[in-house]
Amino acid sequence: MSEDLIIPSISSSVNKITISDTSKTGFGYNPAVGPSSNEITEDTSSILINKRTISLTPHSSNSILDRNLNKKVNEISLSSLSFLFCEIVNWCHKNSKGIQDLENRLNGLGYQIGQKFLELVKIREGVKYSKRETKIVEILQFIHSSMWKSMFGKIANELEKSQDLNNEYMIIDNLPIVSKFINVPKEYGNLNCSAFIAGIIEGALDSAGFFANVSAHSIPKDDNPLRTVFLIKFDESVILKEELRYT
């Protein structure tokens, strides 16, 4: 019997696994079966007790799980990054229906990076010494300083709260590194390729539980023609929760 199980609200990867897919090695969780799929049997128990090394997958010997998360490879070539980003923008542009669509696509690409990077930066800070951010201002400061530093090698230039609206904050970077070499032609209006970075911020905030919309706007100043403001609009529920809890 091999039937695809469709479980609501669990991601697509589950649907690819069926009940009859049993692990040959006794290791590996099958969400369609539950905890009995990877329960400890006589075989697996003896492997664990004796710490025998076994090769579960073709790349077990050097899997991602064996590498060190704290490895310091802080610097990459700006040129290769720029060429890569240039191709990313081109690729999004080719598939997009308009300027807004292009910005949304860039935002979407950044979103997943933000989700993952948030956890990575927190791990690198050391779970024992650092704290979980639970307030709006704290998480924004964390993104503005620690996260910016590990992504771009510098902290963002400013962090401001909107004077008019309660739920709007701004992170300002005078020279966003990914769009350093990008000149947006006039016919593209107010397109800003840092929408990608806005996506990273949005992904990080959303996964930390501070639901927000983030957009990038070019607001040049005389000596900083590429100055970009990342406008963060929090969901009403986030503001409400903060008011109820901390005031």
């Binding site: 609200s9 669990i10 991601s11 697509s12 990867s13 589950v14 696994i17 692990s23 090695t25 290791f27 590996g28 969780y29 099958n30 969400p31 539950g34 905890p35 009995s36 990877n38 329960e39 400890i40 049997t41 006589e42 697996t44 128990s45 492997i47 664990l48 007790i49 710490k51 076994i54 579960l56 997958t57 077990s60 899997s63 991602i64 799980l65 590498r67 998360l69 997943q112 989700q115 993952k116 948030l118 956890e119 990575l120 927190k122 791990i123 779970v127 024992k128 704290k131 979980r132 951010e133 639970t134 996964s207 930390a208 539980g209 929760k241 809890r245």
Partner: protein, 151 residues
């Protein structure tokens, strides 16, 4: 000699990894590490875990630690939880018949911290996205080794 039921819960409150095991320390049983939950408890464990989610969310915002410690108990089953910055919950249910509960707490915390490391490593895989079930056999093996080491 405790049995444990460990779950990783995604941001949408769906489980993405589960594991049942027992302490490897006293191998009086035929298969060391095999969970000893009686069948009637075994089948309510996912429900106990699920009902603890509300309590986790409550302390998620009132506490800025990662390890939330013991958050609930139910019919002699204790529930400990840990939450990452990215809203991924680690929950462990265990039958609390160990005499030294202080010791248990700190080793569960150790276990959580190391699983968090492994989880982030899984997250670094470009073919894995947040809230996918973790089906990797390598991950499973590493978690079980941690279980053997700490619990």
């Amino acid at each position: 000699m405790s049995s444990y039921y460990f779950t990783i819960i995604g941001t949408k409150d769906a489980p993405i990894y589960e594991l049942e095991f027992s302490s490897f320390k006293l191998s009086s049983h035929q298969i060391p590490g095999k969970s000893q939950f009686p069948p009637n408890i075994k089948e309510i464990l996912p429900f106990i875990t699920h009902s603890s989610l509300d309590l986790i969310e409550e302390s998620q915002w009132s506490n800025n630690q990662y390890n939330l410690g013991k958050i609930d108990s139910f019919y002699g089953i204790s529930i400990n939880a840990f939450i990452t910055q990215g809203n991924i919950k680690f929950v462990i249910c265990y039958d609390n018949n160990s005499a030294n509960s202080k010791y248990d707490e700190s080793s569960i915390k150790q276990f959580f911290v190391e699983v968090n490391d492994l989880y982030v490593k899984v997250l670094m895989n470009p073919f894995y996205s947040v809230n996918d079930a973790i089906t990797s056999p390598d991950f499973d093996l590493k978690v079980k080794l941690l279980a053997r080491k700490y619990l």
